[in-house]
């Protein structure tokens, strides 16, 4: 049996680098670590606060109210007949999911130097748990949104496309893969030169404005701005999401396909750069 144990855990370390290596079996062995990282993320955010986990509801709610007041009220942007609070809540939820996937992963290497520098565990556990955190936050926001949705359903002010609801998890997978792929690419690239990680904060904020988050895609007629929005790979999944949930959205299949292709490329590229960097980034970070 001893013999078996040593054979089982044989590890070969070499200086040669492989381009694509997804050691999912090893990641699975560390699944409890992923759960703990995810739990820790929630625990730490709300330690030593009075309201505690209530903040999970409170902060996106406040953002949605502000958006409703500023963009819906002051700027008077039309929301295609969808109740404004519902529109902004759903948009915020889906955008926050994507933005957190990018932002939290963009600093994977740098913010975990202390642990990475002392002990080995599959580095991919961190991006995975970051994505889980974003997904759980999204679900919690959806719960809150469900309350509002039921209210407006009873009032008859919203007509969801129930047939499209099965697409909502697909949208999540789509945006999650894109966000993580993007995030880990940035984090791998910033281990040596940190410029990019400083830029990414602004970048994601700007990105929101060229995505139909605070306004629906339909408000734009034709022109370069609309083209820019359509090229933006986040646009289509967001529209699909709102189309299913609120019955408002413009789906253009060819752009959806382009967005999927971009996402897959981004995810593969992200894992490739991540693989390349994870073994020696401690020397340069």
């Amino acid at each position: 049996m001893e013999e078996k144990a040593t054979q089982q855990y044989h590890t070969h370390i070499t200086s040669k680098k492989r381009w694509f290596e997804l050691n999912l079996k090893e990641v699975w062995q560390y699944r409890d670590l992923i759960v703990l990282f995810t739990k820790r993320n929630f625990q730490l955010t709300y330690k030593q606060t009075i309201l505690g986990p209530t903040w999970i509801f409170l902060s996106p709610f406040i953002t949605s109210v502000i958006h409703t007041l500023v963009f819906g009220g002051i700027a008077g942007i039309a929301t295609d007949g969808v109740p404004k609070i519902l529109f902004y809540m759903s948009s915020n939820a889906i955008w926050a999911f994507f933005a957190t996937s990018v932002n939290s992963n963009a600093n994977t290497f740098r913010s975990n130097v202390a642990v990475f520098g002392k002990v080995y565990f599959p580095r991919l556990t961190i991006p995975i748990s970051n994505m889980l955190v974003a997904a759980i936050r999204f679900l919690i926001q959806m719960l809150m949104l469900a309350g509002f949705l039921i209210y407006f359903l009873i009032k008859g002010e919203v007509q969801p496309n129930w047939a499209y609801w099965p697409l909502i998890p697909v949208v999540l997978l789509h945006l999650g893969m894109m966000g993580v792929g993007f995030g880990i690419t940035i984090s791998s690239m910033t281990t040596k030169y940190r410029d990019l990680s400083l830029l990414v904060g602004f970048g994601v904020q700007l990105w929101m404005y060229i995505t139909p988050i605070v306004y629906p895609l339909s408000t734009l007629g034709k022109g370069p701005m609309k083209t820019l929005l359509l090229i933006n790979p986040v646009t289509m999944p967001v529209e699909v999401f709102r189309f299913a949930l609120l019955g408002q959205g413009t789906i253009i299949p060819e752009y959806l396909v382009i967005s999927w292709i971009f996402t897959l490329l981004m995810a593969v590229f992200g894992i490739m750069v991540f693989n390349r960097v994870e073994k020696t980034f401690m020397d340069t970070v």
Partner: protein
Amino acid sequence: MDQKNENREVAIQLTGVKKMYKLGQIGGGTLQADMQSWWARVRGKEDPNTKIGQEQRLVGQTFMALNGIDLTIYKGEALGIIGANGAGKSTLLKLLCRVTAPTDGEIDLYGRVSSMLEVKTGFNGEMTGRENIYMRGAILGMTKAEIDSKMERIIDFSEVREFIDTPVKRYSSGMSVKLGFSVSAHLDSEIMIMDEVLAVGDMAFQKKCIDKMREAAKKEGRTVLYVSHNMNTIRQLCDRCIVLDKGKIVYDGDVEEAIEVYLGRKLKEESYCAFTENDHEKWCKNSIRLLSREIVNDITNITAGKTLVLKVKYHANEHLDGIHIRLVLLNSNESIIGMAISENTIRVDKNEDGLITIPFHTDYLSAGQYKMRFSAFAINEYGMHDYFCVVNEFCAFSIQDQPEKHFGMTWSNNSWGNIVFPSFVIEDEVSESCHNHMGDL
């Protein structure tokens, strides 16, 4: 030894492992150099920024922290790793813990590795001791079920049961180290790697840790790698020890020998020893150079009382007269033992190569290892010494012990020093008178 090892199971195998680090800050200049290297590679030309020499440790902008490590560690061994700061100890451990990858070479690990490069890894001040046990355990590769089953033992070992549900930020440094070590010590891994983890923690806890580690190696057949500057813990824990110096293994074997090598007490013993530029003191005139020394006697068997015959080669850069030769004898701790000077003087011509023979009497020397410092000097018209050349030899010779001369006792340099004065005869007057009185009665 090798034959015995062939049957043993290998736990860790390193072949030709090298690790290169870049020197200097990473910034705009680095980007420029990176672009240069990349452009050179694209054109298939030689990279202008990296030229890794085979033997050189420091080349251009890079630094070889490990320069060709070949090492086989067997299952159940407790291996100590010692060396000066910067010798490459921590780099070696980092490679074995897979924190970073080698620049060249291969490493094979047979078994799970638990690293204790720092006992507080994975601790978060905001979380309680118990939460941190789960976190650190999982980071080290344990599943939740495993941690659950060991929780009580971990808490007991850590001696911080009362505070286990208090955030770790309120712990004293000793407490958090104890807790961290307890988690690592309860891992089921086949290979344990530790870097100075016992530095904090009181004496009692240190002893507990050493015992736990020794138990792991001896009873459970695990492999323990231990880095420390504390020679006592190395002695207590390890049964084999390597000495690293400038990224290479300079000694591999017995623990005591290794410590001697590390502390610089063990010198190479050679009958012929050539002096290098580094052996010469820079402050003297260097108008004559001593090139080498040879001990004509059989150096494996020198006993006190024998006359050492030294042959010293020299090269004169100037015409000199009235040169005295002085020998200063140092022991293995670099302490000066004594001096001998030549009665007569020699004369040399410019660019002359010559050979002198020096008889050196070892009558009063004890057993032990010695090295010599040679100087050539003259006394000038003002009565001052003019040093032409001073050489500290790197090689050494040993005087063999003759226990029969001190009633069977092995000579101890630590207790008795390096000089054996002539033995004496006790003149027992009191006893004589006593005896006389006895007679009277």
